[in-house]
Symmetry: C2
Amino acid sequence: MINLDQGDPTLFEPYWRKMGDKCTLVIEGCDLMSYFSDISNICWFLQPQLGDAIKRLHRVVGNAVTEDRHIVVGTGSTQLLMAALYALSSPADRHPVSLVAAAPFYSGYKDQAEFLRSGLYKWEGDAQTFDKDGPYIEVVTSPNNPDGAVREAVVNRGEGKLVYDLAYYWPQYTPITLPLDHDIMLFTFSKCTGHAGSRIGWALVKDKEVATKMIEYMQISSIGVSQESQIRAAKILGVLGEGCRTADSENFFEYSHSILKERWERLRNVVKNSRVFSLPKYPRDYCNFTGKYMDSNPAFAWLHSKEDIDWESRLREHKIIARSGERFGASPKHVRISMFSPPEAFNLFLERLSAIIDNTNGNVVT
Amino acid sequence: MINLDQGDPTLFEPYWRKMGDKCTLVIEGCDLMSYFSDISNICWFLQPQLGDAIKRLHRVVGNAVTEDRHIVVGTGSTQLLMAALYALSSPADRHPVSLVAAAPFYSGYKDQAEFLRSGLYKWEGDAQTFDKDGPYIEVVTSPNNPDGAVREAVVNRGEGKLVYDLAYYWPQYTPITLPLDHDIMLFTFSKCTGHAGSRIGWALVKDKEVATKMIEYMQISSIGVSQESQIRAAKILGVLGEGCRTADSENFFEYSHSILKERWERLRNVVKNSRVFSLPKYPRDYCNFTGKYMDSNPAFAWLHSKEDIDWESRLREHKIIARSGERFGASPKHVRISMFSPPEAFNLFLERLSAIIDNTNGNVVT
């Protein structure tokens, strides 16, 4: 069985191995003992060096405006999405605020909105068909998980509040066309550098009151965020930012981009023999970071098939674990495949997918 | 202003400084990148070395049974309490399960139960006056925060489920009279060693289904727990356990016990001049860990006054920040004072408290 269900970004590990001592962190037994990192900051558990590294990196990459923003750190952007829902809803309202995202949407949002049966917010599904009156929160994931599309808000009503999940708005995945400038923008260390185990995310938040409520969420639910992970993220994001000034394999984004680009080419080569399968096409765009026209190479392949088959089940018969389109508010004719697997698993996946396609006529082998 | 509101345990820092290299942790840039620590464990994000260190330490200290228990790691025991509420409630039930704790109870429980307006559970306050029918969860905090009392469950009905919050059941705070053996027991690295910034807590859970639901909570709310904090906690708990075999200042529990004991003696000396203030008395008990009869020296002083004064406000006038009894379901004649402050702050506190007491007659200076 090869597992292409999760997006566990271990494929970037060799780069960090190569960086050697530059990224090595040493922590003494007496370090980082307090709950508090900086009591002069409304986000009192944010390590100042992490805040600085985040701002520097966004400036170097050019993907988000950080001036006059509050940085809220979280246990992954997962915890920050929960914090944003809390901050943007109001206990005084008689009805829960509606939460929507355009389908296909990240499967985690629904679980996060529903699992505690909160009276503050209610998952209402696809933003494209949403027509309820009243306040709502729209999560805009761009580039989108699962399908890699660059997105804008779709509901666009006055009572709406927007949360931008920008986990994949980094140069290895998509051209950086402008520094985004939204009210709440979420990023995660996991997808930026591949350090998923650290569970570090950050939100750039314009409004102080919203930031304060997000911090309150973090306080009540976990009294802050691991200080060890924060200083490690600060160090690694710092090295990453420095490396961006070079144009060779020292540059993490060039390195990670080249891996994903090669994988996408190989996958497209397999799929093009098929009359049944198709993959999304992405427009080439000018990337301000690289100064070149670039393709998108998303973290997930959103495979579509013409045949009315439950592809999650069918792929499982071929010893490939992937996630059904149904989990993303789409049809089971879609399936999401992680492009992040270890090299051997990716090679096996291409072999097995090739074997499903009858190369004489492009149909599925039955 | 001296802040004795929070229980930030930085006073144990000198011990860990003295330990020098023994507790130093080195993390390479390529370490700990995956979400997964051990896919053979139901708690797939638990570092095996942390699980091992936890079991060893409980065996050395003798405060909890770990055999045939599932260990669930959390971002502090705070996140684990939320996970336990999720695990012990049922979306199928028409009514939310009642959550109670005997007053005075830790002020955080109410916030945690109420802030998301969950339909799964409902805060019902003091367990001693609780008389609602139906399923309930009782949190038993022992030794108790704020008052240091050793506790048992008080409701004791068939439909009840118990969560033991044992944050302070360590030898520096209280005699270890037996290894506890309850269904769900919560511990936290913060109060055990003083490493609050790491945000590491653990639950010892008997029932596999309950553990699985707690793990599901961690997955949906934060996709696991900082790996860096986990391996640091493993290292430090390991050193702590080793040090317990010695009977001198190398032994952390002797060190931390002697600090707290001295502070309590000094505080009791100040309070005994007063006819107005009183402190709880704790029975001496035989401690299996030290092999001696020991006093309790809780992390908080639960100061009671005969005079009908809002002591939080009155102390604030004397530049002492403490937490009102009202926050703990008690009267404002009580106030909780952290015994964890830096030495200078503790000295100042004693000076200021002395100044409030008229030493000629024991009344409060007006």
